[in-house]
């Protein structure tokens, strides 16, 4: 009998003690963020979606070799040889450059290996990369494309700007 009541008492006391902890936090400010309306800005080193600058890239292939999942491909730009126009000569520029985000590990090895200053391929702070189709996962860059790149729409046979990409730098900062 005594054991029964002491059990009941201990159970009740544990509930009260637990509630005390909970109540203590009721009056503290909330730690969560109301996501779509309020967005966190990640830290400076954050590894978000990759951006690429076709203007500064010297087409050295180091990022291709550094990538663990071979998701980068690129092609050298060429100019016709002045002596013999039939022969194409390679120059230190990219013709086109693609990253397959379906395979990307977001590991920063490509950024670390890039020799140009500033880096030609780098991680942005964008954590909201969304893809509606597999085509969209492959981002392509050519001379003159914006840093965020374009994707090839197979159905409409045209390059398109990715949708749903936020400009995280514009988002109101919390830290």
């Amino acid at each position: 009998m005594i054991e029964y009541f002491s059990k009941v008492f201990r159970g009740a006391w544990a509930t009260v003690a637990g509630m005390m902890v909970t109540l203590k936090y009721m009056v503290k400010p909330s730690v969560t963020v109301h996501y779509p309306t309020e967005k966190l800005v990640p830290f400076e080193r954050f590894r978000g979606a990759l951006l690429f600058d076709p203007g500064t890239c010297i087409s050295c292939n180091l990022c291709v070799k550094a990538c663990p999942s071979t998701c980068i491909t690129l092609e050298n730009a060429t100019i016709p040889d002045p002596k013999n126009p039939a022969i194409k000569k390679k120059v230190a520029k990219v013709d086109w450059y693609t990253i397959d985000f379906g395979k990307c590990n977001f590991c920063r090895l490509c950024e670390e290996s890039c020799p140009t200053k500033p880096k030609s391929v780098w991680h942005s702070l964008d954590y909201e990369v969304v893809f509606f189709s597999r085509d969209e996962m492959v981002r392509c860059w050519k001379a003159g494309t914006k840093f965020v790149g374009q994707y090839w729409d197979r159905k409409e046979k045209a390059f398109k700007d990715p949708e749903g990409q936020i400009q995280i730098q514009d988002v109101q900062a919390r830290r």
Partner: protein, 380 residues
């Protein structure tokens, strides 16, 4: 007690035998912490046979490593135990450094210890939260994730990722930490210490929680050793084995900490080992922060494409789930000839076949949760 009720042993002998039934637990069951299927044969409420079925998350990283460079493999290791990826990075780097004869500078070693211990806290917090949910207490989960978020913020600040860090590299670590980071880490530890006592109030000494876990899923020490358990699952049975003490790496012998041990090997003991380990990790983190002396964090002359001499190396560390080992064979090429992973989760999972038999269906989740497996590491 009702006088008409039969004693349990008589109940077994009645001619009225119920049909045994086969049920699948998982692979989409929310309490299996990933994609694990357990085929249960039950007789009434009693489990007569349990067959864990793994392989749903198999990505073949051991095979993949044979065609990837050594630097690339570190990225692969992140994907085994995604809840605590730092020890995974570390164990691969230790094995590869042994092959290449690299010596990590002291600051690099301290940072490795620091990150691994922070990761251990984060991983045990996840266990603490989800085990509460398994047993039916939702509140501790929210508190655990609040603190875990702070650790992930620390990791994000230094490495740029929240789960797959790729922070510990061959020859050292990716980057040095800033003074701001160190201050923030100390601030977190100060905040975290009193929280541990709250956890005890909320869950550890809660009579309902204790009643559901205290005499359930007993693993005697001998059984634990026979099945090759490691980590808190082994120590919960009272076997004092911790790689950090038994075979120190990264200078763990210089740190002052204790190995919490359980008594009976019940679910509660395993749980309690993890909660106590968080306290010890806090101690190690504080010591590591004091030890941080300026200096390089990366060994000089790490090759871009390392081609170690032909040979073999084995390294093991105490990950959050147990004794995580890597056996690496090199044939002088740019990728390992063979990489074998000794994953603690896989061994901790295997004991379920024996442990679940004879228990009630309602205890399955309590036992499964207490082994704290991560399916990414089981299947690799």
């Amino acid at each position: 007690m009702n006088k008409g009720a039969m004693a349990p042993d008589q109940e077994q002998d009645t001619p009225l035998k119920s049909d045994s039934m086969f049920i699948n637990l998982g692979p989409q069951h929310p309490s299996t912490h990933g994609v694990l299927r357990v085929g249960l044969t039950i007789d009434g409420e009693m489990i007569t046979k349990a067959v864990p079925d793994v392989g749903y998350l198999h990505r073949g990283t051991s095979k993949l490593a044979e065609v990837r460079g050594y630097h690339h493999c570190v990225v692969l290791t992140d994907r085994w135990d995604y809840v605590s990826a730092m020890p995974n990075n570390l164990v691969f780097c230790l094995a590869a450094e042994r092959l290449m004869g690299l010596n990590v500078p002291p600051r690099g070693d301290v940072l490795r210890v620091l990150m691994c211990e922070l990761n251990r806290i984060a991983s045990h917090l996840l266990f603490f939260g989800t085990y509460g949910i398994d047993i039916g207490a939702f509140t501790p989960f929210l508190y655990a994730f609040r603190e875990r978020e702070m650790i992930l913020d620390l990791f994000e600040m230094v490495s740029g990722a929240r789960l797959t860090y790729n922070y510990i590299r061959l020859g050292g670590v990716m980057v040095d930490v800033t003074d701001e980071w160190v201050a923030k880490c100390r601030e977190f530890i100060e905040y975290f210490k009193p929280r541990l006592d709250e956890y005890d109030t909320l869950l550890t000494y809660n009579p309902i929680f204790m009643a559901r876990t205290e005499k359930v899923g007993l693993i005697p020490p001998q059984t634990a050793v026979n099945w090759g358990l490691s980590g808190p699952n082994l120590r919960g049975s009272g076997v004092n084995y911790d790689v950090r003490k038994a075979d120190p790496y990264c200078g763990y012998e210089q740190y002052d900490f204790e190995i919490p041990l359980g008594k009976t090997g019940s679910c509660w003991d395993r749980y309690f080992c993890r909660v106590s380990e968080m306290r010890q990790s806090v101690r190690i983190v504080l010591q590591a922060l004091d030890k941080l002396a300026p200096g390089p964090v990366m060994a000089p002359g790490v090759a871009k494409v390392p081609k170690p001499q032909p040979g073999e190396a084995y390294a093991h560390v105490e990950g959050a789930r147990g004794d995580l080992g890597i056996f690496l064979v090199s044939d002088g090429q740019a990728s390992p000839y063979r990489m074998h992973v000794k994953a603690p989760s896989f061994m901790n999972l295997a004991i379920l076949q024996e442990l679940l038999v004879g228990n009630k269906v309602s205890d399955v989740i309590a036992i499964l949760g207490s082994t704290d497996i991560v399916l990414g590491e089981v299947d690799r």
